[in-house]
């Protein structure tokens, strides 16, 4: 009897003393709210955090489990990004979205070894779309090469399906990020008969008079920009200075935020950029953000960024992460998923028009599916144009599909080279 009582007490004590098993879903945020690239990092981080807060506040989390957010400041610095990763890797992170191509390149081998899913939406290593070589890395719904291809497809549509004899300048951030589209554009130049002129801009890009003097001399038909941070605003200002037609100046989606055009004032009117999601805040979901997040004083920022281009992108990234977690829970049959189960959810993700409407984001994104072979989604994007009078972006095209045949060939070759270098045997997990 005494032994039974003792055993019961021991069991109760042991139970009490045992470490509490976390009943939550850890979504770490590798943000940059400081440093020269903070104007882009802050709205993305706010959009990401606000959506996760909405899910907690409105729905009680995902599958009944609250989302636990943790924030680590990278300052868009690759070393600090890796330090952030090292600090959270033991805390069951479900997904990482570092918003930096430099950090992404450093994290790919680490997350692969540790088994942590990495989602680089519209940035990062393009060939990571080859899921069999990069099982832990995803870059849906579109990647840089999709962006380059969509830009050229748009220009083809503007020029009677021929760019023969045209001259196109690629003005790019002289970094891993900026150099990503070069192979695709070189292939497209060869197949479409246009001349490609490459003009690099060293980071941060505060001074670009040499580049724009060269553009003035070259007299290109179009300029495509792959910039980030201050480089974008300076380039658009310089383009306005030399009276380059703004509707012939196309930015990648990271060169298409309010931060890039507002400082230029009226000179930026008509500037165009790609986007892989809707613009503005005319979506039902934003009403929920206002009600459940902003009005409750839980917004990550002061609420004035809601609906801006990069805020919407951060929100979209969070939405895709939550949808992947829901899919993972359905596949696993339980709510408390781990990183491996999250990865399976990301690989089975399906974004349909119906689901977007249910989420309060009708037509916000092109529908796409992810699978083991294709971690890159559909690759479609739209063109948006800046109106300096109303200070708004407007969509000027429907979804434009990238040339996935060409991109697939380039990605396969690049992924095969990576697999050989790193002794990886491609295959589905």
């Amino acid at each position: 009897m005494k032994m039974t009582t003792f055993a019961a007490l021991l069991a109760a004590t042991t139970g009490l003393a045992a470490p509490a098993v976390a009943q939550d879903l850890h979504f770490p945020m590798l943000n940059y709210r400081t440093g020269p690239f903070a104007p882009g990092g802050i709205p993305f981080a706010d959009g990401y955090q606000d959506y996760l807060t909405l899910i907690n506040q409105r729905d009680g989390g995902i599958g009944g489990l609250p989302i636990r957010m943790s924030e680590c400041e990278t300052a868009y610095n690759t070393e600090r990004g890796v330090e952030c990763y090292e600090s959270i890797r033991g805390d069951n992170p479900l997904i990482l979205q570092p918003l930096s191509t430099g950090i992404t390149y450093q994290l790919i081998p680490r997350v692969t070894a540790d088994g942590v899913p990495l989602h680089t939406m519209g940035y990062g290593r393009t060939s990571a779309m080859e899921g069999e070589t990069f099982p832990w890395v995803f870059n849906y719904p579109a990647n840089y090469w999709d962006g380059a291809s969509v830009a050229i497809n748009y220009l083809l549509s503007q020029n009677g399906d021929s760019l023969d004899g045209k001259k196109i300048v690629l003005l790019y951030h002289n970094s891993a990020y900026g150099r990503e589209p070069i192979p695709t554009l070189e292939s497209l130049a060869a197949s479409n008969g246009f001349e490609l002129v490459l003009i690099p801009v060293d980071s941060p890009g505060q001074e670009q008079s040499s580049q724009w003097l060269q553009i003035r001399r070259e007299r290109p038909d179009y300029v495509i920009m792959w910039g980030w941070g201050v480089m974008n605003a300076v380039a658009i200002q310089e383009a306005a200075n030399i009276r380059f037609p703004m509707d012939h100046f196309i930015g990648i989606w990271w060169s298409g935020s309010e931060n890039d055009v507002v400082p230029v004032g009226a000179g930026a009117d008509g500037y165009t950029a790609l986007t892989f999601h809707g613009v503005g805040r005319d979506y039902p979901l934003y009403d929920d953000i206002q009600t459940y997040v902003v009005d409750r004083g839980m917004a990550a920022g002061n609420g004035d960024q809601i609906g801006s281009a990069v805020y919407s992108r951060g929100l979209y990234a969070a939405m895709l992460a939550v949808e992947a977690a829901r899919t993972a829970q359905e596949l696993a049959g339980h709510a408390q998923i781990n990183a491996a189960e999250m990865r399976a959810g990301m690989e089975a993700l399906s974004i349909t028009e119906e689901r977007l409407a249910e989420l309060g984001l009708p037509n916000f994104s092109a529908p796409f599916d992810v699978n083991c072979q294709n971690h890159g989604g559909g690759g479609a994007a739209m063109m948006q144009q800046w109106d300096a009078d109303t200070q708004t972006w407007s969509l000027i095209t429907d979804w434009i599909q990238s040339d996935r045949t060409l991109i697939g060939e380039l990605a396969t070759a690049d992924a095969a080279a990576y697999a050989t270098e790193n002794n990886i045997t491609p295959g589905c997990l």
Partner: protein, 328 residues
């Protein structure tokens, strides 16, 4: 004249105007180094802070609004009025003078007679503090700065050069204004230091701290004066660069462009800052023009430092700097 010669002339002319923009940043460094021997790491951040303050005042932005809102549950962001530049600029000057006074009271006063490296480290701390303060006070979003300086291609230069050479040169009107503003600024600084009592005191301190103190010059006053002038120069640099790119936190990185200018011109010479800026500006534009077909461009960031390195090898004190002779 061949096209390439004309293009080279255009590049060199743009180098002159860009070089003056670099000089505007370098001047602030020179003023403080000359008077106190401190290499002010915070000069670039001071330019950023001044520009942020100017835009904030122009737009009637409430400083520290996010903190006030978080603390009191309010939702205030703006006073509801806009200040014209003629009012906002003098107010910003007052803010910069107030900041200079606080820097002297809180930082420099306690570091008198310390090694230069200690003072340098203090300015690194100051840079981080000011950057954070600017963020908290005015927010980190990119802001448009418009003080009425026109931008865009100078039609006058375009037409004149077209009539002369058959090819119109591009020069940004803003850069032409920068030339004029730099000329006024340097003239003003020279007149101030030569013909006013405070200016002479400043020169006396620059020559010999101990001797200046012995004749009753207040070192603390001179430091406030110097940092105030450097703050005003930072405001001018912030206006010119902020008008080009919008006011954003990368503005503080323009200090990186000033360092090779200082190495070339000398850390203690105001004319040296101007000449150094011109050499760097013209040199980097011509080098980029000539070497771009060979090595693909984007040479400006490293060319300035390479040129500075060559100068360090042959003339470490710079073109106009004082030769340091230390007895052993």
């Amino acid at each position: 004249m061949s096209d390439n010669v004309l293009f080279a002339m255009e590049a060199a002319l743009n180098g002159v105007t860009v070089g003056i923009m670099y000089s505007l940043v370098a001047l602030g460094f020179v003023l403080i180094f000359k008077a106190s021997g401190i290499f002010n790491f915070a000069q670039g951040v001071m330019a950023l802070f001044a520009a942020l303050t100017l835009v904030g005042l122009q737009n009637g932005q409430i400083p520290f609004a996010p903190i006030i809102n978080a603390a009191f549950g309010t939702s205030i962001h703006n006073f509801g009025w806009n200040l014209p530049s003629v009012v906002a600029i003098p107010l910003t000057v007052l803010v910069m003078i107030g900041m200079a006074w606080l820097i002297e009271r809180i930082v420099l006063k306690h570091l008198v007679n310390q090694e230069p490296i200690i003072l340098f480290m203090a300015t690194i701390g100051l840079a981080f503090f000011l950057e954070g303060l600017g963020d908290i006070m005015w927010g980190a979003e990119v802001k448009r700065l418009d003080v009425g300086i026109p931008q865009g291609m100078s039609s006058w230069v375009d037409e004149t050069t077209y009539n002369l050479f058959g090819y119109g040169f591009f020069i940004d009107t803003l850069s032409l204004y920068a030339l004029g503003i730099a000329a006024v600024l340097v003239t003003g600084l020279v007149l101030f230091s030569q013909y006013t009592k405070q200016g002479r005191a400043l020169r006396a301190v620059a020559d010999d701290h101990q001797a200046a103190l012995s004749v009753g010059i207040s070192l603390r006053f001179i430091w406030v004066l110097t940092w105030s002038i450097a703050g005003i120069v930072a405001l001018v640099a912030g206006i010119m660069w902020g008008s080009k790119s919008g006011v954003q936190f990368s503005l503080s990185l323009i200090a990186l462009k000033a360092l090779p200018v200082l190495i070339l011109g000398g850390f203690t010479s105001i004319p040296g800052a101007i000449v150094g800026g011109l050499l760097i500006g013209v040199g980097e534009k011509l080098f980029d023009f000539l070497m771009q077909p060979v090595i693909g461009g984007a040479t400006e960031n490293w060319f300035a430092y390479m040129l500075a390195l060559v100068f360090l090898l042959f003339r470490p004190q710079g073109l106009f700097g004082e030769r340091i002779i230390e007895r052993v």
